[in-house]
């Protein structure tokens, strides 16, 4: 393989912080990334994930903390001295240069020979499957093609680290799925570490080896997609990972499980670290609430939206608790259904009284 990521063992963020005036956009982020890893920084807008990426790229100076690439401290280096590849949200292709010129820019800046540049650029063009568009200007390409050029331009310099800032957010739904697979393929091909910023949990789950969930400038949880999907460690992480039902209630221990009172009935749930008898938040995804005639919860449907495989529903239990759930058969406003919850899928978190 002609294009391969520069070798390194570990990228380490040590208390990486950044303030904008009195606002702490990033509060002491610690993270260690190995070569070949695909890391997704996931969080709602304004959580500091893009700030973190810009700090890594060198486009923002740290307020405190440090960044290490193996034994070298790199947080004082300018972006042009770091040699990381970056894919911008708006692609940031040079509008006055052909696709070929755009991709060769980084190599030309490194002073590589003409022959080597041509060879590497051809290689990069074939990796992103744009061999026949090399002489066009970016403005003549579709959004998906521009995206590929941006990726080619970032990887052709063989960076140890590729940084991507919501690269798919400007594409339509179908193209987004295609490019997602493409990005993962290219990542594995060149073997770099990729740090990928997104607010789309589905994107993060399908792409990443590890997900870093951020909120208000802090890392809330780091884990594999499975960890985060099945066992979010915090209530706010659970909320972001699709646990849309968050029921405030109280619970008591019942063996390995906890018994939570919801809508006048006791349901079994899985306790998450640190929860004790008393005030709790029970979290469960809409698709983990099963509609079944033997279910303990009786819910009156308030609204139902058709979505192909069934209905997204919203309803109320007798005591007024609101629940989101999914139903495969046709229901409409005013119907009454019975719901059951798998104890393993209902997570019980501690709550301040």
């Amino acid at each position: 393989m002609a294009i391969a990521a520069r070798d390194f063992r570990e990228l380490r963020l040590d208390g990486m912080s950044r303030n904008f005036g009195s606002i702490n956009a990033l509060k002491g982020v610690n993270l260690s990334v190995r070569r070949g890893e695909f890391i997704a920084l996931l969080g709602p807008s304004g959580c500091g994930k893009s700030t973190a990426l810009n700090c890594l790229a060198g486009l923002l100076t740290l307020s405190s903390g440090s960044i290490w690439l193996d034994k070298n401290r790199i947080d004082q280096l300018k972006p042009e001295e770091r040699g990381f590849g970056m894919v911008f949200q708006n692609y940031a292709l040079f509008p006055h240069m052909s696709v070929r010129k755009n991709i060769s820019f980084g190599l030309a800046m490194q002073g590589r020979s003409k022959a080597e540049i041509v060879r590497k650029v051809d290689e990069a063009l074939s990796i992103v499957r744009l061999g026949d568009q090399a002489e066009k200007l970016p403005g003549q390409l579709s959004g998906g093609q521009q995206q590929r050029v941006a990726i080619a331009r970032a990887i052709v310099i063989e960076p140890p680290l590729v940084l991507m800032d919501e690269p798919l957010s400007n594409l339509d739904a179908k193209l987004r799925l295609e490019m997602r697979a493409e990005i993962r393929r290219i990542h594995e091909l060149i073997g770099s570490a990729t740090i990928y910023v997104t607010h789309d949990q589905e994107e993060a789950l399908s792409l990443a080896d590890r997900i870093v969930v951020m909120r208000a400038g802090e890392v809330r949880q780091v884990g594999t997609p499975e960890d985060l999907y099945i066992r979010p460690a915090q209530v706010d992480v659970a909320e972001f990972m699709g646990y849309r039902n968050q029921i405030r209630s109280h619970a008591v221990k019942a063996g390995n499980l906890m018994s939570v009172r919801i809508g006048g009935v006791d349901l079994q749930g899985t306790p998450i670290d640190g929860v004790t008898d008393g005030d709790v938040v029970a979290a469960i995804r809409p698709n983990d609430l099963k509609v079944t005639s033997s279910g303990p919860l009786t819910v009156k449907v308030e609204s139902a939206q058709y979505h192909g495989n069934g209905f997204y529903c919203w309803g109320r239990v007798a005591d007024g608790t609101e629940l989101y759930f999914q139903c495969e058969t046709k229901v409409q406003k005013g119907d009454t259904v019975r719901l059951a919850a798998d104890p393993g899928r209902m997570l019980v978190y501690a709550r301040a009284p």
Partner: protein
């Protein structure tokens, strides 16, 4: 029957709808005053002057032009004007680039812009009076110099330097504001992308900023040149109107109001106009060699 039905003319749309298809509606009428204004104050005088310039007081129809190009006292005014206008334009536009590059990142841009607009609003005459007082032989500047032991006053007014200073003072803000608007139109992420690709500031300027700025600079050069080429008040007030700064507009003024030869004055005005047109045409045709598309960063 069928054929006839097919041949029937299509139903005519109402006039209002047909006009609307070409985006013409009641609001379009609002451009009428502007058209009348341009016709009355530009098109008519231009054509009138053009014809008048071929009706000399004496001699055949080309006599005025022949006289201009055979009299050094007249044709040298073109060189004198260019000698002022070209350096002043270049200085104004070139200096505006580094300053605009710095200013676009400033947060309190508005204050600076306001300060810079003041010279434009004051007008050339006030600036000229100010410079005469400040830089004249008895002005503060020379007094301060002599106070610190320099010999005699430095001659800064009533010569080439005075006019040049005034052209820079009044022309720079205009060039700067235009450059600033072009430079802020360039997406900052382009330079960030270049820096992550290893481009140092000098390379970013050369390969990214400059090519994207080039066409804006050409337009800026053209407009600034036209402004400085028609210099009149400062050339009279601050310069040496009989010598080094005898610009072409002074020649036209003298023909019209000292010799009362309107035909000759018209001919000089025409020559002046076509010289400007020639230079502006050269500048704008040079744009062919630079990128002229959008300066954004693609979709986004």
């Amino acid at each position: 029957m069928t054929a006839r039905a097919l041949n029937q003319p299509r139903e005519r749309l109402p006039l209002r709808t047909r006009l609307a298809l070409y985006e013409i509606d009641g609001v379009t009428l609002l451009v009428l005053p502007a058209i009348l204004f341009v016709a009355a104050l530009f098109v008519y005088p231009f054509i009138y002057g053009f014809i008048l310039s071929f009706q000399p007081k004496a001699g055949d129809w080309l006599a005025n032009y022949r006289k201009f190009f055979s009299t050094p006292f007249l044709y040298e005014t073109i060189a004198a004007t260019l000698w002022l206008a070209v350096p002043a334009t270049l200085i104004n536009v070139l200096i505006s680039i580094p300053i605009a590059m710095r200013v676009r990142r400033m947060r309190r841009r508005r204050i600076l812009t306001t300060i810079l607009v003041i010279p434009i609003t004051l007008g050339t005459v006030l600036i000229a009076e100010g410079l005469l007082n400040y830089l004249g032989p008895q002005g503060w500047f020379n007094r301060a110099l002599m106070l610190f032991g320099f010999d005699g006053p430095v001659r800064l007014v009533h010569n080439y330097t005075g006019v040049m200073l005034s052209l820079i003072l009044s022309g720079f803000p205009f060039a700067f504001l235009l450059t600033l608007s072009y430079i802020t139109g360039i997406d900052p992420s382009l330079e960030q992308a270049a820096s992550t690709l290893g481009a140092k500031p000098r390379a970013r300027f050369r390969h990214i900023l400059m090519p994207l700025l080039a066409q804006g600079l050409a337009i800026n050069l053209g407009l600034s040149f036209v402004q400085t080429f028609s210099v009149f008040p400062s050339a009279v007030l601050l310069g040496a109107p009989a010598g080094a700064t005898r610009v072409i507009s002074i020649a036209a003024y003298q023909a019209a109001y000292e010799q009362y030869d309107y035909s000759m004055a018209s001919a000089i005005a025409m020559i002046m106009g076509f010289s400007q047109l020639l230079v502006v045409g050269l500048i704008l045709s040079a744009r062919r060699f630079v990128y002229r598309g959008a300066v954004g960063a693609g979709k986004g």
